[in-house]
């Protein structure tokens, strides 16, 4: 496959892996957090851990949009469909996220709520146009990559004067989450989570650029490499981080120079700024309330804000007691440290959100890593 196979070449991979093995210093460990679930998925799917020396340890970050969605938000979405009788349009993975009282959007759908899986915000707009007599709500989730399409949908709805369309906005921000992790007591004082550097998500940076990371690199003295999602991208960025750490540098480097610039996509940024503004606080699963970490719809678009239109109250709901998603999302524990991993909680019957999406750390471990069993647990130290 052209433009894809080049980034999955096994021979190049082995060369890169050998270089990494030659350059790591045996007396130290390299704890690298891949923030984004897409990287977690690539690491597991291509078996990258098998190629790397034991000195390299991946810590899986919270960058999986459905994993960080708190139960209370899913409950609100279910309430929209069930109690307000709207057509709720949602991305596929969100349907299976567990909510309160053993509910999920998928179960609500089976019980008769009108919940439809869409592939884009444009699909939701079309459903609104086709059903003028019904209220249609787009359940918008995701990081910076899915925000511009939601902004486009909102602007289009206003231009068309679509009265029956609104958005339940749950867009979250990558830099705020990374900052929250770096400022957490576990990282800052206790040193429970050793964190030496970050692999940053390239698709997010195609929008926001690499500049927002410069602050962390300097303030927290942690190197950041913006990396693509192909397995070779990941390996190359590991090598770049190893070199920075060996040389005592803490800079923002761009591995994904084929699409990421320092400034990012200014047009998309302007569009998002026109439609959205920062929320004071937003609850994340695993991280709790994080200040200025999510977006809400601006007053100019108020009439399309489902939270306003349906007067949705927010109720925070604690995770299931046995579920370790919170600690796993903060990198404190590995999936196998969770008592319910692979027993009560499986991709077919997820208890926690990390088991839902293919990008969740638990789902990736369960799906791709089972045969390794004990060896993966040992690596978690």
């Amino acid at each position: 496959m052209k433009y894809v196979d080049e980034f999955r070449d096994g021979k190049v991979a082995r060369n890169l892996a050998q270089t990494i093995a030659a350059e790591v210093r045996p007396e130290r460990r390299y704890h690298l957090m891949e923030f984004c679930g897409g990287h977690t998925h690539a690491i597991s799917r291509y078996g990258l851990r098998d190629l790397l020396p034991p000195e390299i340890r991946f810590i899986h970050g919270p960058g999986c949009p459905v994993c960080v969605l708190p139960i209370g938000r899913i409950d609100s979405a279910i309430a929209l469909a069930r109690d307000h009788g709207v057509i709720l349009c949602s991305y596929g993975d969100t349907l299976r996220v567990p909510a309160s009282e053993r509910m999920s959007l998928l179960r609500a759908k089976a019980e008769g709520a009108d919940i439809r899986m869409v592939y884009s915000s444009a699909d939701a707009l079309k459903i609104a146009r086709d059903n003028p007599e019904r209220e249609v709500v787009f359940f918008a989730i995701g990081f910076e990559t899915t925000t511009p399409p939601t902004a486009v949908a909102l602007r289009q709805a206003r231009n068309e004067g679509l009265k029956n369309f609104s958005v339940f906005a749950n867009h979250v921000l990558t830099p705020s989450a990374i900052q929250n992790i770096l400022e957490s007591p576990e990282v800052r004082e206790l040193g429970t989570i050793p964190l030496d550097g970050f692999i940053g998500p390239s698709h997010v940076s195609t929008i926001i650029g690499s500049r927002p990371y410069e602050f962390f690199a300097e303030e927290f003295q942690k190197p950041v490499v913006i990396a693509g999602f192909e397995p070779l991208d990941v390996l190359q960025s590991v090598l770049m981080l190893v070199r920075q750490l060996n040389e005592g540098r803490a800079e923002v480097e761009n591995q994904f120079s084929r699409a990421v610039t320092r400034e990012g996509n200014l047009k998309a940024q302007a569009l998002v700024a026109e439609v959205f503004e920062l929320r004071d606080r937003f609850e994340w699963r695993g991280l709790g309330e994080v200040p200025y970490s999510a977006l809400r719809i601006r007053d100019a678009y108020r009439e399309f804000d489902a939270e306003v239109r349906f007067d949705l109250p927010y109720r925070s709901v604690p995770d299931h007691k046995a579920c370790e998603c919170g600690t796993i999302l903060r990198g404190l524990k590995q999936p196998q440290d969770c008592k319910v991993f692979g027993t009560v909680c499986t991709p077919d019957n997820p208890l926690g959100s990390c088991m839902v999406s293919a990008e969740g750390a638990c789902a990736a471990y369960y799906t791709y890593g089972q045969f390794k069993g004990a060896s993966v647990v040992a690596e978690a130290s």
Binding site: M1, V4, R8, G10, A13, R14, A17, G38, S44, R45, Y46, G47, L48, R49, D50, L51, P65, V66, Y91, G92, D93, T94, L95, R96, M117, V118, Y119, D123, I141, G142, F143, T145, T146, H203, P231, T346, P347, D348, S357, A358, E359, Y366, T367, Y368, G369, Q370, F371, G373
Partner: protein, 353 residues
């Protein structure tokens, strides 16, 4: 005959309007309309001595050997897709389920659930396609049934087919017979059917030249058994794809599997479509492929026999059965790493970011 020349002939029924007509509730009501639909459409298309008897059952002569029976319901959407339609699919699917036991398929039944308002022209197209598929396969449809449900209670047409076949003596093919050391083969490119269907879904508009691989595999399988009568397992990797099939056999036989990504035949176009949709070709459905597991000494002969048949021209050896009490299927990736190939969970849902 009446003296009045304008009066209609006694017993005359206006023929079915196969061009513009629609299914009505009366077509399932047990009256003349139903009899007419059966006579003019089904009987005419499926034409064989059993149907000609017009009984509620087919009277069959007992064949020699062990009898196998399989049933399959078809609810595919869209009804027509590149490379086939629900009609041909319903014939191929059941023939393949019978044939993967090593059996020679003998007879089929067909049950139709039709939705009120369904165009008769579409139904005729589907029935003709079924008839052609059955004729080509040499497996007659000997009995059938038609029901009509109200508009909105079905999705056009659902078809159930059941097949009966007979297994020659000495052939022992079963999902619990895989043994460590056995070789795993597939008969050709994987994922064609699933991608062809997905390309036709209304909310997933992408264009591709991929056509469904829907085909009856019994002749290929007969040639395979001739070449390697000691085949241990055969299965067609339909829903859940190769991944589901290997996991099923691993569990039934209490063994593990080790496959090599580089050796698994996947068309570049299928690979590209899956990449775009966030799918894995190993989990995408096939309707004209078979997975075979045989002792290592027969593998080369089996591979040669598969490649000699048009439906197995791209056959390949993809891995081996290994000892593993967990029943895991693992794969050496093209990249040089190893990973688990787990069961599919839920349906394959495209990625969201």
């Amino acid at each position: 005959m009446s003296a009045n020349p304008k009066a209609t002939r006694r017993g005359y029924i206006r023929p079915l309007d196969l061009r513009n007509g629609k299914i009505e509730m009366s077509h399932g009501g047990g009256g003349r309309a139903m009899a007419q639909l059966i006579d003019e459409l089904f009987q005419t298309a499926f034409e064989n001595p059993w149907l000609r008897q017009a009984n509620d059952q087919a009277l069959l002569t007992r064949p020699e050997g062990r009898i196998v029976m399989a049933t399959d319901s078809h609810v595919v959407s869209p009804l027509f897709f590149p490379g086939g339609d629900i009609g041909s699919l319903s014939v191929h699917g059941t023939i393949n389920d019978v044939a993967t036991s090593g059996a020679r398929p003998l007879w089929l039944s067909a049950g139709f659930i039709l939705e009120e308002g369904f165009p008769l022209a579409d139904l005729k197209r589907i029935v003709d396609s079924m008839a052609a598929a059955a004729e080509k396969a040499g497996v007659p449809i000997v009995t059938g049934d038609t029901k009509v449900v109200e508009r909105g209670k079905g999705d056009g047409v659902f078809i159930n087919t059941t097949g009966v076949g007979v297994v020659p003596d000495g052939i022992e093919i079963s999902g619990d017979r895989a043994r460590p050391g056995d070789v795993i083969l597939v008969s050709g490119y994987l994922g064609d059917h699933g991608v062809a269907i997905m390309s036709q879904r209304e909310n997933l508009s992408f264009s591709t030249h991929i056509v469904s691989d829907s085909a009856a595999l019994h002749e290929l399988i007969a040639a395979m058994i001739d070449a390697a009568p000691n085949i241990h397992c055969l299965r067609d990797p339909t829903r859940g794809g190769l991944a589901a099939t290997l996991n099923e056999i691993a569990r039934q036989s209490d063994v593990g599997m080790a496959i090599r990504e580089d050796d698994i035949p996947v068309r570049e176009e299928v690979d590209a479509a899956c990449e775009l949709l966030g799918l894995d070709p190993l989990y995408v459905a096939n309707e004209g492929k078979v997975v075979a597991i045989c002792p290592p000494e027969s593998a080369e002969a089996l591979l040669a026999a598969m490649r000699a048949h048009p439906l197995g021209a791209d056959a390949a050896i993809i891995g081996e059965v290994i000892e593993d009490s967990h029943g895991f299927v693992q794969m050496e990736t093209s990249f040089g790493g190893r990973r688990n190939v787990d069961w599919i969970s839920g349906e394959q849902l495209p990625r969201i970011c």
